[in-house]
């Protein structure tokens, strides 16, 4: 399936891009994150399991166990610091 990924803040900066569309066989957000980490380089660093990374599916913050759906929008970002 195809998914649209957005990156924000330090993750966006680390990857040098604000988003991308990927073709994936991953069925959950966690699996997709692992696929991205497996690319190595900046991906392995900014999405590392040792880091606090928050995820959102279709613009709602969620757990990584959630299922991906074709054409969905997901986002990876650091803990939020507004207000």
């Amino acid at each position: 399936m195809k998914v649209n990924i957005k990156y924000f803040a330090a993750i966006r900066e680390g990857l040098g891009k604000s988003g991308e569309q990927v073709q994936t066989d991953a069925t959950t957000l966690a699996m997709l994150r692992d696929e991205l980490i497996a690319r190595g380089g900046a991906y392995a660093e900014v999405l590392s399991r040792g880091r606090a990374v928050r995820v959102a599916l279709n613009q709602v913050m969620c757990k990584e166990e959630l299922q991906l759906v074709d054409g969905c929008e997901l986002a990876f970002f650091p803990p939020v610091t507004g207000g």
């Binding site: 957005k6 924000f8 803040a9 330090a10 590392s48 399991r49 040792g50 880091r51 606090a52 990374v53 928050r54 959102a56 613009q59 709602v60 913050m61 986002a75 970002f77 650091p78 803990p79 939020v80 610091t81 507004g82 207000g83």
Partner: protein
């Protein structure tokens, strides 16, 4: 803007009033207060929180701050918070304005405004909305300091503040 013949139709007027604004422009507390309580004689209390940019953070001076957000999700998340506040507290209306872009010390960043019949519910809802916003709304601050730029770290105390309301937040403390 709401035209004059609508002023006696509270529900319709309220629907037309914007509850959430994400903007680069500054805001005026007096103007927002007047708009939120306009024509609503049930209101006996208005509670406002205004967050401003400090010139110091974590032991360093801050020259400026860049606010990034997730367009679309930010508005949705704050709308959901206001819906939750309207369910939990006996309040009439709420308004949230959050600025984005480049801000300087002394600038206003965020406004939370709540109306109710008596002060207690407005105070509570105002604090609830800020606790929620701090940990659930997708904003990120980047500070400019004399030693360079740095992303602001989330605080454990903000997650703990939201837990007071019986809501688990794993903004910072959740599994990576």
């Amino acid at each position: 803007m709401v035209v004059s013949w609508l002023s006696s139709h509270r529900s319709l007027a309220a629907e037309m009033t914007n509850r959430v604004s994400i903007q680069t422009a500054d805001f005026d507390l007096s103007v927002e207060t007047a708009a939120l309580r306009a024509q609503d004689s049930r209101v006996g209390a208005v509670c406002a929180f205004v967050g401003t940019v400090r010139d110091r953070n974590d032991g360093q001076s801050v020259r400026a701050m860049e606010l990034e957000h997730y367009p679309g999700m930010t508005e949705k998340a704050i709308e959901a918070m206001i819906d939750e506040a309207l369910k939990r507290f006996d309040i009439y209306a709420a308004r949230v304005i959050h600025r984005v872009g480049l801000l300087q010390p002394l600038d206003q960043i965020v406004l939370v405004l709540v109306t109710s019949a008596h002060r207690g519910q407005s105070f509570l809802a105002c604090e609830f909305l800020m606790d929620y916003l701090k940990t659930q709304a997708p904003f990120w601050k980047k500070e400019q300091t004399p030693s360079g730029e740095r992303w602001v770290d989330a605080r454990v105390s903000d997650d703990q503040a939201l837990k007071r309301w019986g809501i688990g937040s794993d903004n910072l403390t959740g599994a990576g």
